[in-house]
């Protein structure tokens, strides 16, 4: 099986699906000839031409608004937002229109749009090239939210997202775009939306993570093991609708849980996970669920490694939870 990094795997998935389904079109800023600022769409302009890989004017509202129209027509648009920090000019189209179109039309219409966008910090991007806005979309009924952590899942989840009947926010953790390499089958396969992966089994503490922070969770779990604490690590992969069964099952086993995410703590997705765990497994809890997250500040530049919930911050939380 070929080795690919995430950029290559997503590129491969896009190419495969564009060959398979002529309704799939890409649009966004710089997605054409240059292949996107992270080169995720590289080569697709040459293969599919400027009618299916479209450089647009500099307007995210225009990109998403047009994608909604294309989807209503019956195309399958996969717009790219260059950085998820720049999705907010399109927020009205996403929240008011994309998310609600099926519901408000009583199911007469639907618009299936997959918005791909790089997310997260760790690339020296400062305030506006590092943010993780997932909870701002999870709160909005009607959207699905996906965030892969490796090349295999990235391709499989992307194909599943494009074939899913509902709008999907597909967040790509840019810090591991090239670092997360692995075996990726050449042909067609999907990874089911809504299913988490247990990437490490353990009995003492459940660590829930996704995207780039998964590797930090694993690193912390390794160190915890050296300290006699056996962590189970869950990679959510789909953030919403979340795989509640996988979470509850793990928490019932361990009774202790640490949630990790890059986004600011307050009203981040970690809060929802803690609340759900309370509702579903309260009597199994032997310690308060802890959150290790970005701080409630804008994303800093120089101190970004202190801001991110890296292994050095996860480990103490795991030990504290284990020893509670």
């Amino acid at each position: 099986m070929p080795q690919m990094n995430m950029v290559q795997a997503i590129n491969d998935g896009l190419r495969l699906e564009m060959r398979r389904d002529s309704r799939v079109v890409l649009l966004g800023e710089d997605v054409g000839k240059v292949g996107g600022v992270f080169r995720v769409t590289q080569g697709l302009f040459d293969e599919f031409g400027d009618s299916r890989v479209v450089d647009t004017p500099l307007s995210e509202g225009g990109i998403v608004g047009c994608a909604i129209g294309m989807a209503l027509y019956g195309l399958v648009p996969v717009p790219e937002i260059q950085f998820s920090d720049f999705i907010f000019p399109a927020y009205d189209q996403i929240v008011s229109e994309l998310a609600k179109y099926r519901y408000r039309s009583g199911g007469e219409y639907s618009c299936k749009v997959v918005i791909r966008t790089p997310v997260g910090g760790g690339i020296r991007g400062g305030h506006y090239h590092s943010q993780s806005p997932e909870s701002l979309f999870i709160h909005v009924a009607g959207l699905k939210v996906v965030c892969p952590s490796n090349a295999y899942d990235a391709k499989g989840l992307l194909l599943a997202s494009i074939r899913d009947p509902d709008p999907v926010l597909f967040f790509e953790p840019k810090r591991i775009y090239r670092a997360a390499k692995g075996d990726v089958p050449d042909g067609d396969y999907t990874v089911e939306i809504g299913k988490a992966a247990v990437v490490r089994e353990g009995k003492d503490v459940t660590v829930i993570a996704w995207g780039a922070m998964l590797y930090e969770a694993i690193a912390a779990a390794d160190e915890a093991a050296a300290n006699g604490v056996d962590c189970e690590v869950l990679d959510l992969r789909t953030l919403w609708p979340v795989d509640i069964d996988a979470i509850v099952e793990s928490v019932k086993k361990t009774g202790r849980v640490v949630v990790v995410h890059e986004a600011p703590k307050t009203c981040g997705f970690g809060a929802e996970l803690v609340a759900l765990i309370n509702e579903k497994a309260f009597l199994h809890l032997e310690a308060p669920p802890m959150r290790v997250t970005g701080f409630d500040t804008p994303f800093p530049y120089t101190l970004e490694m202190e801001y991110l919930p890296l292994a050095h911050r996860i480990l103490p939380a795991v030990m504290q939870t284990a020893q509670f």
Partner: protein, 380 residues
């Protein structure tokens, strides 16, 4: 501070309807040959009948709202020619991306009165399943998309739809309605720019009715007209007497044919007037002087259309009496039926959020159905 005084509106027919504005109807009952859309007598009469129907609907719905039998209505009184004329210019394969005032266009394109009224009552048969406010219907059969409240969003969507059709080489034009207030929205800018850059087959139909709730059109922009905004996007535009149904048909049809022929979008500014309040929630007395209403009232699109038909022997008082009675009965009957339909079933609240119902909504639905009912709820 803002350089614009808050005096009476300056948007008047005498000042606005200058020579640059396309007009067709002449006082002698003829049509200006260069702007005559050359529609059949039958079409003219049925458009007139449709106009009477929506005018009467407006009146009935306002009354229903006053009686507390429906929650809300946003009507088209005074703007019927702009709405029906543009809808009548569409070809069967063309699509409408509405604002919220164009129920006349939806009915003209085939939405049933029953369906419309089901939406007004938000009942179980409402195409929107009672989920949205009155006047927020949807009718795919009429190639009429779903109405939402946020201003301007449909403009960009109309462009994307047309762009999609163009990519599939399907002969189809989209027409999107919006008010002159909406030209200030983000999505007007985005829709105009993308339409022009990608040469999509789209007609941007701006109903300049003089008001955005209480804000007069001259406070909305400092540009000379709304049509001139096309220049910023490299898009041709035209101004038309929006109360002259023949002129509206003509310019809209030209724009559609132009789009269908691959020449891209056109911006149409239809000069008309919102004769009533913004909606049943609004009382224009607080901000609008009567004189402008009186002046525009003299150019009432229904009255002008009727006069034209009468001068051409196509209409008379007897026909009017018959029509009034027929439409009144039709509306009354339809209201009686729609009002009796039950509200949507509780479970429907959780459907259509996604194509299938995920675990959390299944749980929430079960919890809600099993729980006690709200006081005053009319549901099952």
């Amino acid at each position: 501070m803002n350089g614009i005084t808050a005096t009476a509106a300056k948007y008047s027919p005498s000042e606005s309807l200058n020579d640059d504005v396309v007009k067709a109807m002449r006082s002698d009952g003829t049509l200006d040959p260069s702007n005559d859309p050359r529609i059949s007598r039958e079409l003219a009469v049925s458009l007139y009948e449709a106009m009477v129907r929506i005018r009467m609907l407006d009146e009935r719905l306002v009354a229903l709202q006053r009686q507390g039998r429906i929650g809300f209505h946003i009507g088209s009184y005074g703007e019927e020619a702009a709405i029906l004329g543009s809808a009548a210019a569409l070809r069967p394969n063309d699509w409408l991306f509405p604002c919220y005032r164009e129920f006349g266009a939806a009915l003209w394109r085939g939405m049933s009165l029953e369906s419309y009224l089901n939406n007004m009552f938000g009942n179980a048969n409402d195409p929107a399943k009672g989920r949205q406010m009155p006047d927020h219907y949807t009718c795919k059969a009429a190639k009429f998309t779903s109405i939402s409240s946020p201003i301007g969003t449909q403009i960009t969507q109309a462009v994307g739809f047309a762009w999609g059709a163009k990519s599939q080489k399907e002969d189809l034009v989209t027409l999107t309605y919006f008010g002159e207030g909406a030209t200030s929205s983000n999505e007007f800018h985005n829709g105009m720019n993308f339409a022009a850059v990608f040469k999509t087959p789209t007609v941007m139909f701006c109903r300049n009715n003089g008001w955005a709730i209480s804000v007069p059109s001259e406070k909305q922009t400092a540009s000379a007209t709304f049509a001139v905004k096309g220049v910023a996007y490299g898009m041709p535009s035209v101004r038309v007497d929006g109360n002259d149904i023949f002129a509206v048909i003509k310019v809209t049809r030209d724009a559609i044919l132009r789009a269908a022929a691959g020449f891209g979008p056109t911006l149409i500014e239809a000069l008309t007037y919102r004769m009533s309040g913004h909606s049943t929630s609004d009382d224009p007395k607080a901000y609008r002087p009567d004189d402008a209403v009186v002046e525009w009232g003299k150019r009432d699109p229904l009255m002008r259309f009727r006069k034209h038909l009468e001068m051409n022997g196509l209409w008379n008082e007897a026909k009017q009496v018959e029509l009034d009675a027929r439409v009144d009965a039709e509306i009354r009957d339809a209201i009686t039926v729609a009002e009796k339909v039950a509200p949507p079933a509780l479970e429907t609240m959780f459907e259509d959020v996604y194509e299938s119902v995920p675990w959390h909504l299944r749980e929430q639905c079960a919890e809600m159905v099993a729980g006690p009912r709200a006081k005053g709820h009319g549901g099952h």
